[in-house]
Point group: C2
Chain length 340, copies 2
Amino acid sequence: MIFRVGLIGKGHVGTSLLELFNRKKNLIEKRLKSHIVLTAVFNSKGALINQKGLDPAKIIGNNLKVTKMKEWQENISVIDNISKENFDILIETTPTNVETGEPATTHIFKALNHKIDVITSNKGPLFLYYTQLKSLAEKNMCFLKFDATVACCLPIISIKKLLLGSEITHIKAILNGTSNFILSQMSNNGLNFTSALQYAQKLGYTESDPNLDIHGLDAAGKIVILANELLDWKKTIKDVQIEGISDITLQKIKTASVNGCKIKLISVAKNNELYVKPCLIKPSSLLNLDGNLNGILLQTKHGGPIILIGNGAGSFEAASAIINNLIEIIDNKEHRTENN
Amino acid sequence: MIFRVGLIGKGHVGTSLLELFNRKKNLIEKRLKSHIVLTAVFNSKGALINQKGLDPAKIIGNNLKVTKMKEWQENISVIDNISKENFDILIETTPTNVETGEPATTHIFKALNHKIDVITSNKGPLFLYYTQLKSLAEKNMCFLKFDATVACCLPIISIKKLLLGSEITHIKAILNGTSNFILSQMSNNGLNFTSALQYAQKLGYTESDPNLDIHGLDAAGKIVILANELLDWKKTIKDVQIEGISDITLQKIKTASVNGCKIKLISVAKNNELYVKPCLIKPSSLLNLDGNLNGILLQTKHGGPIILIGNGAGSFEAASAIINNLIEIIDNKEHRTENN
């Protein structure tokens, strides 16, 4: 079988994806018995389009000169080109806007309306339109995969189908790596809040608007995604009680440390309630995680607690999550048609 | 669709499975759109057999009196009754024998030869005949699922297909909960090795032969399963360098603790080599886990380290892992025939 893939967004994640796809294409195709053809790559200024397939190696090599490639089309309308004629699977990696979800939301709705499968690393559309997007995907029998949006290196969304018998009852998690990094710097190195934030910004760990991290909005959006996906809830970010970390002082951290505790920004989905707030974490807790790690505790009814820990951010991590989802979609489609 | 299930073994895991199946049958069937019919339950003295379906509630209720049920057949040959006429999916939960793998090995080979899908919680056959069993399952296009055999509450086997893009390169893990419990008791409560072992036995945490736990054989078998499954190796337990915990003294533990370290029985699959041995673990390590927890660190090439932590044992945990596998098999089969 042949799967034609379109990529929107050529920022950090999109570029890492092209690199990874270039390196792993042969391996993936061998495992899957299918061909994957990259037919379109859109950035903010235009697109590379070739129905016979673009060479990812050339696109990466021509990093600053894609406009010079023969496949380049200037000022092309992205939205007009989202159609089944152009690709079967859309990978959406434009920058996140958590207030409007745009432009990704429009892209994803259009793709699903055209029965194109979608993989996205963009949290905005899911923070705001989770229920509508899932319903549309289900109605049109499309895949909508987004493991890269929460704790990106962990397959925390797709793992659901492996745990249906264990029955997840509630979730407790560290979902914002930046807050965790800031709190760890304060706790371990004695930096005050402002210095720790500046250090995180210097290392490129914060969102372009760091308020999303420190005021708890990013964590709130992610716990909504997890609750909806893993617990079958139907919540939006408006249902989350949110308290960020901007009021955490060195004094509070010192007071907590008297008992060996640390302060962590914890997200919880339990008893039909959602909250994000700084909590005291005991040294023996499995969520006593430092640095910019993410950790997710899934409490199950029959299998005890299950904890997943990994890097919460990074363009290669996100790209690898996208590749995982791509393989999963194609693997499923192969099986579905295998017996036809 | 209708799926007929046969269960061999009515010990702790088998009984927990019947309980869980009884509680969750309606929910599972609703999600799957299929009917699951339990047509046979074998124990060491005979079997309950009914092609129209056995009622798990009655079997649990009649715990000591299954021999009085109308479906009871005395002294029935298990092996003669493993056939496609009797069931489509076999669940094998007989007690583990790591030296011969029997009787489970014979049961599983026969089932796969008859193109019956298999789910097992029995480690023996996989410790000894992993490659042969996997080849046969593949040749006959059967599912062979065994998440319950390693860190039973974690979907550590099935997670592989969610991480193909991340590319797992090596594994480091705590795979034997009993050893971990003993070392934790020595480290945290000052018990000597013999007392800690006796305490573990008293709580029912050890294998019937505790040597398997303390001499590292159980951990060795499990790292073989993980390496073969997740890294595509072809190893047996003979390829593992094994050192158990029976030489660990309180003095060694005290010496380690000077630097805040603990001693843990660690299993490693790396650079084509397998070993199990007591290792110094720093307090900041993500494998600094106490009690009878299992923890598995999957180092990936593109997604950083991914750590899974959960209970390593427990009959309900194993039963829920079996149910997870059952749902996965049926879900896959539904999809495969959906478009026919």
